[in-house]
């Protein structure tokens, strides 16, 4: 087996067989499952499908139009009672969850009275509201009634006409690129940690000198990068599979309305994936460089935290990005490594990002990848035998000759 693969296999197993990795691997799916379960639970607590009664003393509902969807049991059944005594008896008997009273002065006061023993379901209230709405328009032509039944349908459209928001908020397809970018950030953070750990391990446990006399530094580092890449791929595949499973359950089992019409935006997904991969490469190479220069692992974690924060800067500037997604701040952050991933996803919610900006962003990222890989390779080569001694930036970029490793070692 090639020595690169030996190192990759060792590093992969080292990370993948750790209990902490399994926890990390399952953490995202568990959070997704908890979120879906909690949402379903909340909805089930809020809703009540038992029939709803009403007492109409006005005659408005004497010959009521049924709610659209009543035949499919999608709506709460509305039962009319002649008087309050009958309605109260039905309520006390548990036949209905509550009843509305339309008093004879309803047309003057525009008020209805809701009588219940326990708080009725949110869906029952909404259905009664719709029921009243269409019956108010009962004397109108059927198309008017239908329009009333459809309710508000305001579509927010971007000036270039390429982005639309329905009244109900962004669709799954619109949100998905943002979710993917957040998943990439999580992936980058984990991979950076693995890379830091992988690079510092041999340095801190002093095996590096023995390993260097077994294979070249370039092979060692290639193997380590492949190992971390394998671990990250395992993470990504697991998360994607869980994501697909979660969407399937939410759509087909729990019948969440939001998932019924997903309308995936493949161009946006591709854009975020490219930005994610490039950000991943820049971050991994930087962590490699940091790992080679530090004296203790804690230092690397502290420096790594700064990079994590850079990823999150767009969240701080989300209002600025939302208000002016084509403004200089939003465009600038789309071009720079770290900030680009979330910024592009956020801007993508509101506008269609111009192709030249995407091309420029990719170019900047590629240049950064080349630069950081060069920096990392030099730092690795110069820094790995610096036991207890920090590597200076000027030494890495070659502006200063390396100082002696340690007088005591020579």
């Amino acid at each position: 087996m090639s020595k690169i693969w030996l190192v990759a296999s060792y590093d992969f197993k080292k990370h993948a067989f750790k209990k902490s990795f399994v926890l990390i691997l399952l953490s995202v799916p568990i959070v997704v499952c908890l979120f879906i379960g909690f949402t379903a639970l909340m909805i089930s607590f809020e809703n009540n499908d038992a029939p709803l009664g009403y007492v109409d003393q006005t005659g408005l509902l004497s010959d009521p139009l049924p709610l659209p969807g009543s035949d499919d049991d999608e709506r709460v059944e509305m039962i009319a009672y002649d008087n309050e005594d009958q309605a109260m008896a039905a309520l006390e008997n548990g036949d209905i969850q509550a009843y509305y009273l339309l008093a004879d002065n309803y047309f003057e006061k525009r008020e209805v009275e809701l009588v219940y023993l326990e708080e009725p379901g949110e869906n029952a209230r909404e259905d009664f509201y719709d029921f009243m709405q269409i019956n108010w328009a009962a004397d109108q032509p059927p198309e008017i009634v239908q329009r009333v039944a459809d309710g508000n349908n305001v579509v927010v459209r971007s000036p270039d006409g390429r982005r639309e928001f329905p009244t109900s908020g962004p669709t799954v397809g619109q949100i998905l690129p943002l979710v993917i970018s957040i998943a990439f950030i999580a992936l980058v953070l984990f991979s950076a940690g693995y890379m830091l750990e992988g690079v510092t391990e041999e340095k801190l446990n002093r095996t590096i000198e023995v390993v260097f006399t077994s294979l070249s530094p370039s092979k060692l580092i290639s193997g380590k990068v492949l190992g971390v890449l394998g671990v990250n791929s395992l993470q990504l595949i697991t998360w994607v599979l869980f994501g697909i499973l979660a969407v399937f359950v939410a759509r087909n089992v729990l019948n969440f309305e939001w998932f019924q019409n997903m309308q995936l935006q493949w161009d946006s997904i591709a854009m975020v994936a490219v930005a994610g991969v490039l950000s991943y490469l820049v971050a991994t190479a930087l962590m490699l460089a940091i790992g080679s220069t530090i004296v203790e692992a804690q230092e690397g974690q502290a420096l790594g935290f700064i990079f994590y924060m850079l990823f999150m800067v767009p969240l701080i500037a989300v209002v600025v990005i939302g208000e002016n997604p084509n403004g200089p701040i939003a465009v600038g952050m789309s071009l720079l490594p770290f900030t680009s991933l979330l910024t592009l996803s956020l801007r993508n919610l509101f506008i269609s990002i111009p192709a030249w900006q995407l091309a420029l962003s990719i170019l900047v990222h590629l240049l950064c990848v080349i630069g950081t890989v060069w920096l990392a390779t030099r730092a690795f080569r110069l820094g790995m035998l610096r036991y207890g001694q920090r590597l200076k930036f000027n030494e890495i970029i070659g502006r200063k000759k390396p100082t002696k490793v340690e007088r005591g070692q020579a």
């Binding site: 391990e201 095996t207 000198e209 294979l215 007088r407």
Partner: protein, 298 residues
């Protein structure tokens, strides 16, 4: 083919000259002592030999030419800075490092079993390395250095943390390796071990080679004109003796340049002195080391 030929290498780090001018050649199947005070340039010299550092000047030929990836598998190295993967089991750690030296996994496992048995580590093989004592870790380092049966071994302070029993075991193994044709460079400050094991030595001081050659020749070279005498009574006055000093329950007689040991022996016998000991005073390597390093002489 000499396993190593080093010619006038030099290496500086910034303003510090770690190695100024070092040259030496290793002969096949010898144990070679690389000596020097702390900071003399030994580790840098070794790292240059192993192609970890590039020399600023000079050349190194290792196993017949420049270092290659293939040659790395023919070399065993135990550096001054010891290191094993601490959080994994001993056997997994050594098998992994063995495979990096070109062994197949099954070969590595098989050889490891043999060495673990010999070093009395079999029952500890499933323990994490960090759970092992210093001495056990030292033995594991030695196994890692020799497990792939290298042609050339470079070993720094091999006897650190070892008890007398294990020290003897390592010495026996080094002897066996030499007998089988393996060339060994040993860097140590334990001069008595060098005297016992090494055929030739190189002493480096301040980045320069200051003493190089056959150990016996060097000791003779530094012997001076003196004899060690132990007798049943006080020694008489002997002509040609410059000074008399006490030396390890004997008396060291420093002779004038024109006086020979034979002359002293004759004088003592003629005076009826019963001798318990009479030998040419050869300095220990410790004494030579101190003398050379303190005086800066070569």
């Amino acid at each position: 083919m000499n396993p190593i030929e080093v010619a006038h290498i030099a290496k500086a780090f910034g303003d510090t000259k770690a190695v100024v001018d070092v040259s030496f050649t290793l002969q096949p199947g010898e144990i070679f002592g690389l000596l020097g005070p702390n900071g003399a340039g030994k580790t840098t010299t070794i790292r240059i030999m192993l192609d970890i550092f590039k020399p600023d000047r000079g050349t190194v030929s290792i196993l017949g030419g420049p270092m290659t990836e293939e040659k790395k598998e023919r070399i065993g190295y135990m550096p001054e800075e010891r290191g094993l993967y601490q959080d994994i089991a001993l056997d997994r750690c050594l098998v992994y490092l063995g495979t990096l030296k070109g062994l197949s996994k099954s070969e590595a496992n098989q050889r490891l079993e043999e060495y673990l048995d010999r070093f009395d580590l079999t029952e500890h093989k499933k323990k994490k390395v960090k759970e092992l004592s210093k001495g056990m870790q030292q033995k594991a380092q030695i196994i890692n250095t020799i497990m792939h049966q290298p042609e050339l071994i470079i070993i720094d302070e091999p006897f650190t943390s070892l008890d007398p029993l294990n020290t003897q075991l390592v010495k026996d193994i080094m002897g066996e390796l030499r007998d089988s044709g393996t060339t060994i460079i040993m860097s140590t400050h334990q001069m008595h071990q060098v005297e016992e094991l090494c055929d030739r030595i190189l002493l480096i001081d301040k980045g320069r080679d200051v003493l190089y050659g056959n150990l016996d020749d060097i000791r003779r070279q530094y012997a001076g004109n003196a004899v060690l005498v132990r007798a049943d009574r006080e020694l008489p006055e002997i002509p040609g003796v410059e000074s008399v000093v006490s030396h390890n329950q004997a008396t060291k007689l420093i002779l004038t340049p024109d006086t020979t040991p034979q002359h002293v022996l004759h004088t003592l016998v003629d005076n009826g002195v019963t001798l318990e000991k009479f030998e040419i005073a050869i300095p220990t390597l410790d004494e030579i080391f101190i003398r050379v390093v303190e005086s800066g002489e070569a």
